[in-house]
Each structure stands twice: as structure tokens, then as C-alpha cells.
């Protein structure tokens, strides 16, 4: 720090300190962001959760994903699976068609299905049978070295094996223990925990899908959305608990119900029922609070000669949004629906139920002789927000996701060329970027690394346990 007031150092002046900084301040914002996130160079940058070690006694999607977030942020995550079998999710694959091999050398005809993707990147894979009391002692050794664990067993199960929070917090008071399951304490405490149950049981399914009056049905989301989002929310709780631990020096236990999560995401549904007694219904591809703001069917697919049926038959939908007055006026003009504009000048008028039925029927009638891209282009050229509903291939080919590194190829260390989606960019971070090292590994792939290197178990002992199928 300069002491002599006659001396002015550039470091003490406001503003950029170098040409580089000045360029940074002046460059167009978009370019600045692109430079900041430096897609492709993530591995050389610092790790956000450096030093955190987490145990994953998990299966399926919900609890594994909660720790996959940690692993992508740089924590060392050890996944513990049953010997030879592995996580049940390894045995799921769409239409039974897509597997990667090997799962384990002793089962050469069994692979790990694509259902296992995205919930287990970067993890180290250990096998351990905790029914064996000797293994529980080894487990304690892991607990002493870790910051926490996530588990999904029926309540009381790990307690019986002396592995519950009550026991582990004695060994490691800083331990953060997370139970993720279907329901939590209460009459349905032992109920199974499925994403589809969450969607059905907690109200999300009742408001998703085409309207009853047109013959529609309650519709399941394409993905195990509640498993995944609950996993995200568990990660939120874990990180908050890690921060709290800096103050108290203590870990904690978190009981997290997956089936509960959709209820928290229902927006105005609950207050509307509580105060007005109205039970919200499905409203299809439209919006109950905005009009026009919906997905319309166009007359023709964009790729009628494609080989893949998704391209050939289903590339026919456009999301159209013109709820502000000027936009709606333009929409009516460009689609030859001046009458609609006269009838529904105010937003309040056009968002009513019957009005929406009329408006979307008119739009689809206008689109009935056009292809998806024709519809989108006409509307976009008129300055209205309209975008085609895109499929997986279009996502793959999208320049946007490629530039941002959202869709990228991963040379998986054991399985080869696999496509990644959004592992890096479900949170672009300037200084501590998320990163994916591998999709997953075979059952017990890191037994030697963890048992010998981390826990100091002799190689002969490891072999003995393996032969006995304790690991």
C-alpha cells in the first residue's frame, strides 16, 4: 500500500488496470459472457467443493442425483452398491435396447442400461454388503473421513444396522446425514418412493395434460422429473447445511420426501383451493393466466420424408406467445383474424376459458395448411415470439447448445464415445465450472482405490472379502 500521498499507483485508481481489463469492459456483453464461461476449458479451473467427500448409499434417480450435483461441483463422491448386482437402475433401459458393457466381469451378458445416465457422473464405485457386521466397521472408517451421506432405505433399516444418524454422529459430529424417500414420518412412512407416484399423488398430474372436454387425459411428464428435481432440492439442503456447519461445527440430519416436492411447485393451485374452493384442472397446451400463449398444431410436419417417425410425423408444433396487447393485435392481423382482435381487445377478455378455445381454434385453422417452420417464420417475421417445439435430434444439432457446451461428446474413460447433455451447463460458473469426468463406472470399479488407498486394507483382505461376496 502506497504511503507517500504524492505517489499515485494505478492499482489504487478506479476502473480497468490493464488493456485486457479495458477490453473486457468494452466488449459486447454477449461476447463477454462467452469469454467468461470459457466453454471447453473447465478442467483447468478450480473446484467449488474441493475437500468435500460424500457417501452415496443410494439407488435409482432421486437420491443418486442429489449427490451427482455435488460430484459435478467437484466433491469426491463414493457410491456404495451391493456386490455383483449394483444399483437396480443399471437394469433399466428404454424399450430394453440400450446398454453399455461391462457391468461386472462375472456377468458378461448384462450391461448397464441408459436409465443409469446422469445420476452417477464422476462418482467412485464401491461394493459393500452392509448386512455383514464386519463391513459396518469398515463403513465407520469411511464415515470418519467424509462430510456426509445420502441414503434411501426404509426408515429404521440403517438404524438396525447401527448406521443411522444417531450412531454416525457419535463417530463424526460434523456428519451431515440425508434420508431421501417417498413420504417421511407419518402413516405412509414405509410407502415406496417413485417419481411417478410423486407426479400422481401430489397434484402435478391433475393439472398436466389435455383438457377433458377434448378427450384428453392426465399426462405423465416425459422424464422422472420429480426424482430429479427432488434430488436438486436435496442438494440445496445439503449445501445450506454445509454452510450452517461452518457456524455450529455440527452436522445434521435431513429427512426429505420426494412425493412432497410437486406440491411445492404448483404455483397458485393451493391458495386458490384454500381460499376459493376451486380445484385446478388440466388446461392442455394453453396457459390459465396468459393468452395467447400456447402450443398449436400445424398442418404439416417439417420432415415428411424423414426416416425417423418423430421427425416424419411429429415435427408439427409451434409455441406461440402474444399476450401483450400489441403482440396480440399483430398476431390477429398476420393470421387474418381481425374479428378476434375486435372481440378480445383486452387481455382480461382473451384469457377467459371460452375465449381461449376460440382463439386457438382460429390459430390452428390458420396453420392447418402450413408446415411448422412456415408458421414459425411468418410469426417471427411479424415480430411475434414463436418457436418450433424441438425434438432430441434438433437439440443435438442446435448451434446454441453446441456453442454453450450444453450438448457435447464425452470420451468416457471406460465406455467410449457418449453424448452428454447439460452436465456442464446446468449452471455455468465463471471461476469454478462444473465438469463431467465420466458417465459412470462398472460395479465395484474403485474397490481397490478406496479399500486399499483410502482405508488401508491389505490386498489379500480385499480379495478374501471379494471371494466371500462381502464386497
Amino acid at each position: 500500500m502506497a504511503k507517500d500521498p504524492r505517489v499515485t499507483r494505478i492499482e489504487d485508481l478506479p476502473g480497468p488496470k490493464s488493456k485486457g481489463e479495458m477490453d473486457e469492459m468494452k466488449m459486447p456483453y454477449e461476447e463477454y459472457c462467452k469469454k467468461l464461461f470459457d466453454v471447453g476449458n473447465e478442467h483447468t479451473k478450480p473446484i467449488a467443493l474441493k475437500g468435500i467427500r460424500w457417501l452415496s448409499c443410494t439407488m435409482y434417480i432421486f437420491t443418486p442425483h442429489s449427490v451427482a450435483n455435488l460430484a459435478e461441483l467437484g466433491a469426491e463422491v463414493i457410491k456404495i452398491e451391493m456386490p455383483r448386482m449394483g444399483d437396480a437402475m443399471r437394469h433399466t433401459s428404454p424399450f430394453n435396447e440400450c446398454y453399455l458393457y461391462p457391468l461386472h466381469d462375472t456377468r458378461p451378458m448384462t450391461g448397464t442400461g441408459l436409465g443409469f445416465t446422469n445420476a452417477n457422473p464422476n462418482k467412485y464405485f464401491l461394493t459393500m454388503d452392509y448386512h455383514i457386521p464386519e463391513m459396518v466397521d469398515i463403513f465407520y472408517g469411511l464415515v470418519k473421513k467424509s462430510d456426509g451421506l445420502t441414503e434411501l432405505y426404509r426408515p429404521g433399516t440403517l438404524d438396525k444396522w447401527k448406521m443411522s444418524y444417531r450412531y454416525l454422529s457419535e463417530i463424526n459430529p460434523r456428519f451431515i446425514y440425508v434420508w431421501g424417500g417417498g413420504f417421511g414420518y407419518g402413516p405412509k412412512i414405509f410407502g415406496g418412493s417413485y417419481d411417478i407416484l410423486g407426479q400422481a399423488h401430489a397434484g402435478l398430474a391433475s393439472i398436466t395434460g389435455m383438457h377433458e372436454f377434448m378427450g384428453g387425459h392426465a399426462t405423465k411428464c416425459t422424464n422422472w422429473v420429480i426424482d430429479w428435481q427432488s434430488g436438486n432440492l436435496i442438494t440445496c439442503s445439503i449445501l445450506a447445511a454445509i454452510h450452517h456447519r461452518r457456524k455450529t461445527g455440527l452436522g445434521t440430519m435431513i429427512e426429505f420426501s420426494q412425493v412432497q416436492v410437486p406440491t411445492r411447485m404448483l404455483g397458485h393451485t393451493l391458495p386458490m383451493y384454500g381460499k376459493f374452493g376451486i380445484v385446478r384442472q388440466r388446461w392442455g397446451n394453453w396457459d390459465t393466466q396468459l393468452a395467447a400463449h400456447g402450443i398449436i398444431l400445424c398442418g404439416k410436419s417439417d420432415f415428411p420424408d424423414a426416416d425417423n417417425p418423430q421427425d416424419q410425423f411429429c415435427a408439427r408444433y409451434v409455441m406461440v406467445s402474444a399476450f401483450q396487447d400489441q403482440d396480440f393485435a399483430e398476431l390477429c392481423a398476420i393470421t387474418g383474424n381481425k374479428g378476434l382482435l375486435d372481440k378480445y381487445k383486452a387481455h382480461k377478455d382473451r384469457v377467459e376459458g371460452e375465449a381461449q378455445v376460440e382463439i386457438y381454434a382460429a390459430l390452428e385453422s390458420w396453420a392447418a395448411d402450413k408446415s411448422r417452420s412456415e408458421v414459425a417464420k411468418i410469426l417471427q417475421d411479424a415480430g411475434i415470439l414463436a418457436e418450433p417445439v424441438r425434438n432430441d435430434r434438433e437439440v443435438y444439432e442446435s448451434p446454441h447448445y453446441r456453442e454453450r457446451g450444453t450438448v457435447r461428446w464425452l470420451d468416457d474413460p471406460l465406455f467410449g464415445d457418449m453424448l452428454l447433455h447439460a452436465g456442464y451447463s446446468c449452471g455455468l460458473m465463471e471461476k469454478t465450472p462444473r465438469r463431467i469426468n465420466w458417465h459412470w463406472r462398472p460395479v465395484g470399479a474403485d474397490n481397490k482405490k478406496i479399500y486399499r488407498d483410502l482405508l488401508g486394507i491389505p490386498l489379500t483382505q480385499i480379495q478374501e472379502w471379494y471371494d466371500k461376496a462381502w464386497i
Binding site: S93, P94, F95, N96, E97, C98, Y99, L100, Y101, P102, H104, D105, P108, M109, T110, G111, T127, G215, H217, D307, N308, P309, Q310, Q312, F313, C314, Y396, E397, R402, W409, D411, D412, P413, L414, F415, G416, D417, M418, L419, W438, R441, P442, V443, G444, A445, D446, N447, K448, K449, Y451, L459, I462, Q463, W465, Y466, I471
Partner: protein, 161 residues
């Protein structure tokens, strides 16, 4: 949906004995004629909330409005007719590819032409207690696939995207 038509029409001296499955959602509330996937007999049905309110009544000579998506024969070891067979079952178009096999697809190369470990069996390569390293020595473990990859490279079939 919700229901089945067990076709008992006598054909060539024995009963047809084919189960035509009326798939859920489509037939939940439905009225019209449908053919048996095996003997093509046309039946009229009227389904309300999954119940067979009327039918199946034979409608000889009529053209069917639709066909089942699937049919099988319990007395024939469950041989079956899957979707999309002309004259028997209606097509199912909303598929991820134009054909589905229902068995593991032995993929050796990704869509951009680089090796991916999607086929079985893989030669054993684990170390102690199932341990693996961090590389796939494809050249050593499956040299024929490595060869194939070299040829693809030479032929310019391997792309960045």
C-alpha cells in the same frame, strides 16, 4: 382398453382363439368396428369408461374402423401379432426409431462413428475385486473393433458431430 376380444370364430375346423387387446386410452370411450388380427372377422363394439357396453357383435362384410395394436394366441405359446402389420394390426408410429427390436442393440460406434462399448460380451478386464482403471484399451481387448475403427477413419466416416 381396458378389455380384450377373445375371438372364438371357427376357422378351418378349429377356434381362432386369438386375444385382441383393446389398448387403454384409445378404447376408453370408443364406438365402432374392429377386426380380429388373426381371422379378420369384424366386430362392432361400444366402450364406455372401459366397459364393453355393447358387443362384440359380428359385422360380416363390413370394413373395420380400426385394428388392435397387439394380439396373441394363448394356445399357441403366445405367438403374436405386433403393431403395424397390414390388415391385422394398426401401426404405432410414435416410436423413437422406425423399428424397435425389444432386445439390446449391439452398438459399436456412436452416431458420429467413434467406438462406444455397447456390445456384449466384453472380454474380462477387471483387476482386484472388480476394479477398473481410467482407460479403455480397445486395441488390446477387442482388436477387431479397433481395426474396424481404423478403416472408418480412413474412409472419412468419423466426424466431429
Amino acid at each position: 382398453m381396458c378389455d380384450i376380444i377373445w375371438c372364438k370364430k371357427e376357422v378351418g375346423g378349429k377356434d381362432c382363439d386369438t386375444i385382441n387387446y383393446l389398448d387403454p386410452y384409445c378404447f376408453w370411450d370408443w364406438e365402432g368396428t374392429i377386426n380380429c388380427a388373426e381371422c379378420k372377422t369384424v366386430y362392432y363394439i361400444h366402450m364406455i369408461k372401459g366397459f364393453m357396453f355393447k358387443g362384440p357383435e359380428e359385422r360380416p362384410g363390413e370394413e373395420p374402423d380400426t385394428s388392435p395394436l397387439y394380439a396373441d394366441k394363448p394356445f399357441d405359446g403366445y405367438s403374436n401379432y405386433r403393431d403395424g402389420i397390414e390388415g391385422r394390426t394398426r401401426p404405432y408410429q410414435c416410436k423413437p426409431r422406425s423399428w424397435l427390436t425389444g432386445v439390446a442393440d449391439m452398438v459399436k460406434f456412436s452416431i458420429r462413428g467413434r467406438p462406444v462399448r455397447g456390445w456384449r460380451p466384453q472380454p474380462p478386464s477387471a483387476g482386484l475385486a472388480g476394479s477398473f482403471g481410467f482407460n479403455w484399451d480397445i486395441q488390446k481387448l477387442t482388436p477387431e473393433v479397433w481395426e474396424e475403427y481404423q478403416q472408418k477413419l480412413a474412409a472419412g466416416e468419423v466426424k466431429d458431430w
